[in-house]
């Protein structure tokens, strides 16, 4: 095992037996975690990180989100400071993969790949929750497999439902009814703005479609093709 960080058996614990005394070293040294991450492709380059901070200084996300700090992610994971890792774990998935860090790192560390590998391992260990982006991804895939294409209205309302909004679905087809349930005010505004400019005759003609759910052609065959392809993979 590598000898960075302070191994548990080397820690100094002061005080008498049975007394509640914290160890002098601050970290819960779990270097296995780092070993597991660096075993993944390209993430191993992180072993040569010298902590110069170029990644953080180049990072466009760090400018917006306080606490997003690739250098600190690498170093805390390297030290195996699990408590620190868990504090910032929810920020890890915010990386936008712009590769500015990887492009500038003077030690040739693939920072973005390391972060993605860290997310993977932390998720596998149950130390991190699924990110909204991933949840949306799952929903999107399920949608495509269900209908053979993306149904925007269906997708938006399923997402809203997942966010905790009450969505009313018609009892027959289980499709969402756009104006029946709750919608976030921004989306309501977005939808109502073009409606205000509509002519009455147009609304009257398309009332059913606007109110119930937008129809589209059946893409059922694509669905079967996709499922078949996935099955073969």
């Amino acid at each position: 095992m590598r000898l960075w960080g302070l191994a548990e058996e080397d820690r100094i614990v002061e005080g008498k037996e049975g007394a509640l005394i914290l160890p002098k070293t601050s970290c819960d040294c779990k270097t296995e975690l780092f070993d597991e991450i660096t075993a993944l492709p390209l993430a191993g380059e992180a072993l040569s990180c010298d902590g110069c901070g170029v990644c953080t200084a180049s990072c466009p996300v760090a400018e917006i989100i306080t606490g997003f700090n690739p250098r600190s992610f690498i170093k805390t994971l390297e030290a195996g400071a699990l408590d620190e890792v868990q504090k910032t774990a929810e920020l890890l998935w915010r990386c936008v993969s712009c590769q500015a860090c990887t492009h500038r790192c003077p030690r040739g560390v693939f920072v973005e790949d390391f972060l993605k590998a860290a997310v993977k391992v932390l998720r596998r260990k149950g130390l991190m929750e699924k990110s909204p982006a991933e949840l949306f991804d799952e929903l999107f895939t399920a949608e495509v497999l269900e209908y053979g294409k993306v149904e925007p209205v269906e997708l938006i309302f399923s997402w809203l439902e997942l966010q905790g909004y009450r969505v009313v679905r018609d009892p027959l087809l289980r499709k969402p009814l756009p104006f029946a349930g709750e919608i976030p005010p921004e989306i309501k505004k977005l939808v109502l703005k073009p409606l205000k400019g509509l002519r009455l005759s147009f609304v009257a003609l398309n009332a059913v479609r606007l109110l119930v759910h937008p129809r589209s052609r059946n893409w059922g065959r694509v669905k079967h093709v996709l499922r078949k392809a996935l099955g073969e993979v």
């Binding site: 901070g53 170029v54 700090n69």
Partner: protein, 327 residues
């Protein structure tokens, strides 16, 4: 009388030539530039540590002594080495062909070309200069009082982004920049001077003079590598992370000084090829062979003090070889 050709008229080459001539050999010296003195003279450096004297002051007396005893070819290069084993027939670019019993290579190093690091804004952003340019300004007394100055360490050294041959440390930059920062702080006491470092490598006795003293006199050392320099209101702005605070920050200064790294010169690469000598990952010459001796920075970076000593040491090794003793 045995003959030796010293290639390169920098500090190491000059001291080797002087020592060999003093030991009674017939010495030739080839220098590419018109003036002897090597990199410090060519880049007209302001002061050299640890002597804190100008390169002319330090190297001109040596060059004069060499000129008296040694046949010097300036403005010439080695064009070809015609024999594989000693004695070597060496053809120079000025048409001269020499037959020598030993070669001393002291072809040295050159400064990194900062335009290769576009993100640091050299030639793109107003107020970004190299350390050599700052020194020229200091030497000519042209520098107006700056409000703030930032030294950016390790430009073109310890940077694998430029390629695998840039992993080496330039070994002089930290002490050199420390000396310049101290000089600026003493000249302009109200100026704010920052040094952006990853590690400060002022080894041995240099630590006190070029790291501790600047800090005591108010030079701010910030731990973090500068990622980008861009222009705002006509001033360079440095983007970096203060890694000790864990905080990404920006700093607007009047003058950003890039402390350039060193790499093997064209001459070093050419001679290694001509004599088929092994080069290391960074391109420095990594071996010697019968009758070929390597002195100075072309085998790995040395400070001026070390280069002068190494020139003499190599001269001694060459002399022992020429007298038929095993080295």
């Amino acid at each position: 009388m045995k003959k030796v050709l010293v290639v390169g008229g920098g500090p190491a080459g000059l001291s080797a030539a002087e020592a060999l001539a003093g030991l009674g050999f017939e010495v030739y010296l080839v220098e590419k530039e018109d003036k002897l003195g090597g990199l410090p003279v060519k880049e007209s450096r302001y002061k050299l540590f640890p002597y804190e004297k100008s390169p002319e002051e330090l190297l001109n007396p040596l060059a004069e002594r060499v000129k008296e005893k040694v046949r010097v070819f300036t403005g010439a290069e080695v064009e070809a080495v015609l024999t594989d084993r000693p004695p070597f027939d060496v053809r120079l670019t000025n048409g001269e062909t020499l037959r020598v019993d030993a070669l001393v290579l002291a072809t040295g190093v050159k400064s990194f070309d900062p335009t290769r690091k576009g993100e640091l804004g050299f030639k793109l952003v107003n107020g970004v200069v190299t350390n050599a340019q700052l020194e020229a300004m200091l030497a000519r007394n042209e520098l107006k009082e700056p409000g703030s100055v930032a030294f950016v360490f390790c430009v073109g050294s310890r940077d694998l982004q430029l390629g695998p041959s840039y992993a080496h440390c330039c070994s002089y930059g930290c002490a050199h920049a420390g000396m310049l920062a101290l000089e600026l702080k003493r000249r302009f006491p109200s100026a704010r001077v920052y040094c952006f470092y990853t590690d400060v490598r002022t080894c041995s006795t240099l630590e006190r003079r070029y790291y501790l003293l600047p800090q005591r006199e108010g030079v701010r050392y910030v731990r973090g590598r500068v990622a980008r320099i861009y222009e705002q209101n006509g001033k360079p702005v440095l983007k970096f992370e203060d890694t000790l605070l864990g905080r990404p920050s920006e700093l607007a200064v009047d003058l950003a000084v890039l402390v350039l790294g060193l790499e093997p010169s064209e001459g070093t690469k050419k001679l290694a090829r001509l004599l088929s000598l092994k080069q290391d990952e960074s391109g420095f010459i990594a071996e010697e062979r019968e009758g070929v001796f390597v002195a100075g920075s072309c085998k790995g970076l040395l400070t001026l003090q070390e280069a002068l000593t190494d020139g003499k040491a190599t001269a001694l090794r060459a002399a022992l070889y020429l007298k038929g003793e095993k080295t």
